[in-house]
C-alpha cells in the first residue's frame, strides 16, 4: 500500500472521529451510527454479491438473527455486550452455513430463491417464538455500562466506528489473500477453478458464511444502538435496500459499500420530504441532461442510448411537482431507482468515477498488485504433494462408459497410462478424446467404469479433489481467469501451497508472508519456464491465443501434479512455438511427470509420444507406439475414410 493511501485512510478516520463534535445533534449522531452499521453489513454482502457473484435476498434476515441473538442473550440471560457480539457473529454464521450448504450445490438462481424464502420464515419465527423473542412486542435492551459509566449515543458512535474500521481491515486483508483470489477465480471461470484444486462449492459457502458472520456483527451492534428491536424491521424492503446499496455504491470496492450505506440511510428521509425530493430529483435530472449532452457531443453515446435514462430522470423530477404526498408512491420511486441503477450504473458510483479517472489519469488506478519477482530455473519444479506410489501404471481407466442420453460418447474404453511416459490420445473430431479428459478430471461422472489413479479409486470424485490428488489439466477452449494477471492465474494454481488460516491472513503472520513469497517466486519461475516472464503482470485476456495456452500449462504445473493432461496445446501455435512446446513437454517428462496429450498435429504426437491410443466413435481402435499406430489400417480408415473396394 502506498503512503498516499495510508495517509488518506488515517485522515478519513480522523475526520470520522471528529464528526460528532461538528454535528453534536443526537439525531445526526444516531444517523451516522446507522450508516456505520449498514456499512459493516454491506462490506460483507459485497463478498457474496461482488466477488462471488451470487445474489442473497436473505441479508435482512441474517441481520435480524444477529440482532435477536444479541437481544435475546441480553434480555433473557443478561449476557454482557462484549460476549453477546461475538455470540451473534457465530450464531449468524451458523445460519448462513445452514442456508448456503444446500442452496449453493446447484448453479442458477437457487441462492436468491432460498434466501428469499428464508427471509420470510425468519420473520415469522421471530414473531411466533414469543417465549424467546417476546414476539411482535419486541425487546428492550440498554446500552452497556462500562466501568460504572453508562455508554451514551455519542460514545456508541466510537464503538461502531471502531467496529467499522476493524471490519474494513479484516475484509480487505481477506480479499487480498489467497482466499479472496479464490473468490475472484471462481467467479471468472468456475470449471478452471475446480480443476486447480480449489473447490468452487466450498469457497462459495465460505464466502456466504463470512458474509453472514459480518451481518451478525452489524445486527448485534444495531440492537444496542436502537435499544429496542421488533420483528418488522427485518423485512423484504430492507433486503432490497441492502442490495441496492451494494450495487449503487460500487461492487468490489471498499468505499462503495460506505457510499451505499449513506445513500440508503438518507433515502427514507429524502422520500418522506417532498421538498427535498424535488430538489434532489431535479438535481439528478440536470446532471443527467448535462452528461447526456457531454456524451453525445464527445460521441461516447448515441442519442438513442441516452433517450431512455433522460426520459426516466425527467419524469421522476416532474412527478415530484405533481405529487402532493410522496409517501404513497415511495416504493414506486424506489423501484424505478433500482431499474435505473441496474441498467445505467451497473458498476455503481465508484465504477462510474473509476471510468472517468481511468480516462484522464490512468496511472492513478492500480487494478492489480504488480509482482516484481523474477523467476529462475531453480524454482520451477517441486515434489508432488502426494508421492507416486504406483509402479507400472499411474492411471488405469477400466471399461469407461459415458452416455449422454442415447449417445455413447465413450463405449467401454480401457486406458492404461504408464508412469513417466507421454501418452498420446488421438482420433478424429467427435471421437471422445475431450470427453475422456473430462471423465478423468471428474467434470463428467462416468455412467459406468472405474478409474484408478496412483492406486486410489477416483471414480465419481469431485474435480477439485481429483486435482488435489495430482491430476492437472489444460483446456481445449482456453479457460483462464481473464481479469487476473498472468502471474495471478499461476498463483491460483499454487493455492494448495497456502496452508495458513484465515487468521494468519488477517494478521499477516510470518507464516503467511513466507508462504506468499515462496508462491510468488515459484509462480514467476513457472512463467519463466513457459517463456512468459515479460508478460507476468498483463491481464490474461489481453494475451495472444498461443500465449494463453502456454499460460494454462504454467498454471497446471503449479498444482505440482504427477499427471498432466494437455488438451490440444499446439492449437494456435506457430511453427517455432511448436518446437518450443515439444522441448517443454520433454522437459516436463524428464522431471518425472506423466503426460496425456491430445493433439491434432501429428508431427508433435509422433515425435514425443511413447504410446498412442486412437479413439473413434467412442471406442478404442488401436494402441501402440507412434509408428505402429501410424501403419494401423483401422486408424488410416478412421482418418481418411474406408476404401471403396472394401465396400
Amino acid at each position: 500500500m502506498s503512503w498516499i493511501n495510508k495517509i488518506s485512510i488515517v485522515l478519513a478516520i480522523i475526520v470520522a472521529a471528529v464528526l460528532p463534535t461538528i454535528w453534536p445533534n443526537p439525531y445526526y449522531v444516531h444517523l451516522m451510527v446507522i450508516i456505520g452499521i449498514y456499512a459493516i453489513l454491506l462490506l460483507g454482502l459485497d463478498i457474496v454479491v461482488g466477488y462471488v457473484g451470487e445474489v442473497s435476498l436473505g441479508h435482512a434476515a441474517l441481520f435480524g438473527i444477529g440482532s435477536y441473538t444479541a437481544g435475546v442473550l441480553h434480555f433473557q440471560l443478561a449476557v454482557p455486550f462484549l460476549l453477546a457480539v461475538p455470540a451473534s457473529i457465530v450464531v449468524t454464521a451458523f445460519f448462513g452455513a445452514l442456508l448456503a450448504l444446500p442452496a449453493l450445490r446447484v448453479n442458477g438462481p437457487y441462492l436468491a430463491m432460498v434466501t428469499l424464502a428464508f427471509g420470510t420464515i425468519i420473520q415469522i419465527l421471530i414473531n411466533e417464538m414469543t417465549f424467546l423473542t417476546n414476539g411482535p412486542l419486541g425487546l428492550s435492551i440498554r446500552k452497556p455500562i462500562w466501568f460504572g459509566h453508562q455508554i451514551t449515543g455519542a460514545d456508541y458512535y466510537y464503538i461502531v466506528l471502531a467496529a467499522l474500521v476493524l471490519t474494513l481491515f479484516v475484509v480487505q486483508r481477506i480479499l487480498k489473500s489467497h482466499i479472496g483470489r479464490a473468490f475472484e477465480a471462481l467467479h471468472d471461470s468456475p470449471i478452471a477453478t475446480d480443476c486447480m484444486g480449489v473447490s468452487v462449492y466450498g469457497y462459495k459457502v465460505y464466502a456466504f458464511v463470512l458474509s453472514a458472520g459480518i451481518a451478525g456483527l452489524a445486527g448485534s451492534l444495531f440492537t444496542y444502538s436502537e435499544e429496542y428491536i421488533s420483528p418488522n424491521t427485518y423485512n423484504f424492503e430492507l433486503t432490497i435496500l441492502f442490495l441496492l446499496a451494494v450495487i449503487m455504491g460500487g461492487r468490489k470496492t471498499r468505499i462503495g459499500p460506505m457510499l451505499g450505506a449513506i445513500i440508503i440511510v438518507m433515502l427514507p428521509n429524502v422520500l418522506s420530504d417532498i421538498e427535498l425530493f424535488r430538489t434532489i430529483s431535479t438535481g439528478i435530472a440536470v446532471f443527467t441532461v448535462a452528461y447526456a449532452v457531454y456524451a453525445v457531443t464527445t460521441r461516447q453515446g448515441t442519442v438513442r442510448q441516452m433517450l431512455l435514462p433522460l426520459l426516466v430522470t425527467l419524469v421522476l423530477a416532474a412527478s415530484g411537482y405533481f405529487m402532493e404526498n410522496i409517501t404513497e408512491h415511495r416504493l414506486t420511486i424506489f423501484g424505478v431507482m433500482i431499474l435505473f441503477v441496474v441498467y445505467y450504473l451497473p458498476n455503481g458510483i465508484m465504477g462510474f468515477l473509476r471510468r472517468i479517472v481511468l480516462k484522464y489519469r490512468p496511472q492513478w488506478i492500480h487494478r492489480h498488485e504488480i509482482v516484481a519477482e523474477l523467476g529462475d530455473d531453480a524454482h520451477v519444479w517441486s515434489v508432488p504433494d502426494h508421492p507416486v506410489n504406483a509402479s507400472g501404471y499411474l492411471l488405469e481407466a477400466k471399461n469407461i462408459l459415458m452416455q449422454f442420453g442415447g449417445l455413447k460418447a465413450l463405449n467401454e474404453v480401457n486406458l492404461q497410462i504408464t508412469k513417466g511416459t507421454v501418452h498420446g490420445l488421438i482420433g478424429p473430431n467427435g471421437s471422445g478424446k475431450s470427453t475422456m479428459m473430462n471423465v478423468l478430471t471428474g467434470i463428467y461422472k462416468p455412467t459406468a467404469g472405474k478409474i484408478e489413479f496412483n492406486r486410489k479409486n477416483i471414480t465419481g470424485a469431485s474435480p477439485s479433489s481429483i486435482a488435489a490428488a495430482g491430476i492437472a489439466r489444460t483446456f481445449q477452449n482456453v479457460q483462464l481467469f481473464g481479469e487476473m494477471t498472468a502471474i495471478e492465474n499461476v498463483l491460483v494454481g499454487l493455492h494448495h501451497t497456502y496452508r495458513h488460516s484465515l487468521l494468519d491472513a488477517v494478521f499477516h503472520t510470518p507464516r503467511c508472508r513466507k508462504e506468499k513469497n515462496a508462491a510468488r517466486l515459484r509462480a514467476a519461475s513457472l512463467l519463466h519456464f513457459v517463456g512468459l516472464s515479460d508478460l507476468a503482470n498483463e491481464e490474461a485476456r489481453n494475451l495472444p491465443y498461443g500465449k494463453q495456452r502456454l499460460l494454462e500449462i504454467a498454471r497446471a504445473l503449479a498444482l505440482n501434479p504427477s499427471l498432466l493432461l494437455l488438451d490440444e496445446p499446439a492449437a494456435g501455435l506457430t511453427a517455432p512455438d511448436i518446437k518450443e512446446l515439444i522441448a517443454m513437454i520433454n522437459k516436463i517428462r524428464e522431471h518425472g511427470l506423466t503426460v496425456i496429450l491430445i493433439e491434432h498435429h501429428m508431427d508433435v504426437v509422433m515425435s514425443i509420444c511413447d504410446t498412442v491410443t486412437v479413439l473413434d466413435f467412442g471406442q478404442k481402435i488401436a494402441e501402440g507406439t507412434a509408428a505402429e499406430v501410424q501403419s494401423d489400417e483401422k486408424v488410416i480408415e478412421a482418418y481418411l475414410g474406408g476404401s471403396v473396394e472394401a465396400a
Binding site: I121, I124, I240, R330, L331, L339, Y343, I443, Y444, Q479
Partner: protein
C-alpha cells in the same frame, strides 16, 4: 381421521394454486434461464383486475379478459426487466429488475385498489358439499380442475403446435434454435406472456377463496418458489407433486401445531430436497458441457 382427510382436501386446493404459479416459473426458466420474481404480483394484478371487471360482467366472461391482461403484463415485464438484462449479460440484473417491477406493481395496486383486503364474489355456491363427511367447497373443486386445465392446455400447445415446438426447441438449446431461424427473443417474450397469463388465471381462481388485495401475491409467489425447487425447475410432474406436498404440509401444520408455523415446513422441505437431490424430486440434473 376425518379431520386429517378434511385438511388434505383443503391442502390439495391450495397446493394446486402453488403448482400453477410454479408452472409459470418453469415456463420462463426453460426458455431463458430467468424467472419472474414478481410472479406473485402478476397473480395479484390478475385477481384485482378480475375483481374490477366482475362488477360489470359475469365471472366466466371475465376470465378471458383477465388472461389477455395477464399476457400483456407478462410481455411488459419481459420487455422492461428481462430483455435488457439478458442483453447486458449481467448475471443477476434480471433478479433485481423483476423484483423492482414487483415492488412497483404492488405499490401501484395499493394506490389504485387501496390497502385493505377486498372480498371477491364467488361464482359458485358458497355452501360446502359433503363427501363421506368431508366438506368441500365447490370453488375448491373449480380451483383443482381449473389449475389442471390451464397447465394441460399449455402443455398440449407446446407439444402439438409449431409455435410450441419453437418454445421446446428454445428450451433445449437457445443458440441452436436461433441458428435454425427461430426468433428466440420472441419465444422468450411469449413464454413470459404465458407465464404471467397462468399466474393471472390462478389469481382469479384463488381470489374467491381468500381475500383479495395488493399484498396477496407476495407469499403465494414465495411458496411457489419452494414448490418449483422441490419439484424440480424442469419437471412438469414435479410442480404438481411439490404443490400438493406443500399445500398439505401447510394445512396440517396449521391445524396440529399452530397457524403461525404453517409456512415453516415448506422451507425445511426445500432445504432438505436441495441437500439430497439438488435438481428437485423429479428434476433431471443437467450435464454442463465444457
Amino acid at each position: 381421521m376425518e379431520i386429517l382427510a378434511q385438511l388434505i382436501v383443503s391442502g390439495i386446493a391450495l397446493g394446486m394454486i402453488y403448482a400453477v404459479i410454479a408452472f409459470g416459473y418453469q415456463l420462463t426458466f426453460a426458455t431463458s434461464s430467468t424467472l419472474n420474481f414478481g410472479q406473485g404480483e402478476a397473480l395479484m394484478l390478475g385477481a384485482l383486475v378480475g375483481l374490477s371487471l366482475v362488477g360489470y360482467m359475469n365471472y366466466w366472461l371475465m376470465i378471458p379478459l383477465v388472461l389477455i391482461f395477464g399476457a400483456m403484463q407478462g410481455v411488459f415485464v419481459e420487455r422492461v426487466a428481462v430483455l435488457p438484462a439478458l442483453k447486458t449479460k449481467s448475471e443477476f440484473g434480471w433478479i433485481m429488475t423483476t423484483i423492482s417491477l414487483a415492488i412497483i406493481f404492488k405499490n401501484v395496486a395499493e394506490n389504485i385498489w387501496g390497502r385493505d383486503d377486498l372480498t371477491f364474489p364467488s361464482p359458485l355456491p358458497t355452501s360446502p358439499l359433503q363427501f363421506f363427511g368431508i366438506r368441500v367447497l365447490p370453488m375448491e373443486i373449480l380451483v383443482v380442475f381449473g389449475a389442471l386445465a390451464i397447465m394441460l392446455a399449455v402443455e398440449i400447445f407446446n407439444r402439438k403446435s409449431i409455435y410450441g415446438k419453437a418454445v421446446v426447441a428454445t428450451s433445449n438449446d437457445r443458440d441452436a434454435a436461433g441458428l435454425m431461424g427461430i426468433n428466440t427473443g420472441m419465444v422468450i417474450t411469449f413464454s413470459y406472456a404465458l407465464s404471467s397469463m397462468t399466474a393471472a388465471f390462478a389469481g382469479v381462481l384463488v381470489a374467491p377463496l381468500t381475500l383479495t388485495g395488493a399484498t396477496m401475491g407476495v407469499v403465494l409467489g414465495l411458496k411457489a418458489f419452494a414448490v418449483a425447487i422441490i419439484g424440480g425447475l424442469n419437471s412438469g410432474m414435479g410442480v404438481i407433486v411439490g404443490g400438493l406436498l406443500l399445500g398439505i404440509a401447510e394445512t396440517t401444520t396449521g391445524y396440529y401445531i399452530s397457524t403461525g408455523y404453517k409456512d415453516v415446513p415448506g422451507l425445511f422441505l426445500l432445504l432438505l430436497v436441495l441437500a439430497i437431490k439438488p435438481a428437485g424430486m423429479f428434476g433431471k440434473s443437467v450435464i454442463k458441457k465444457v
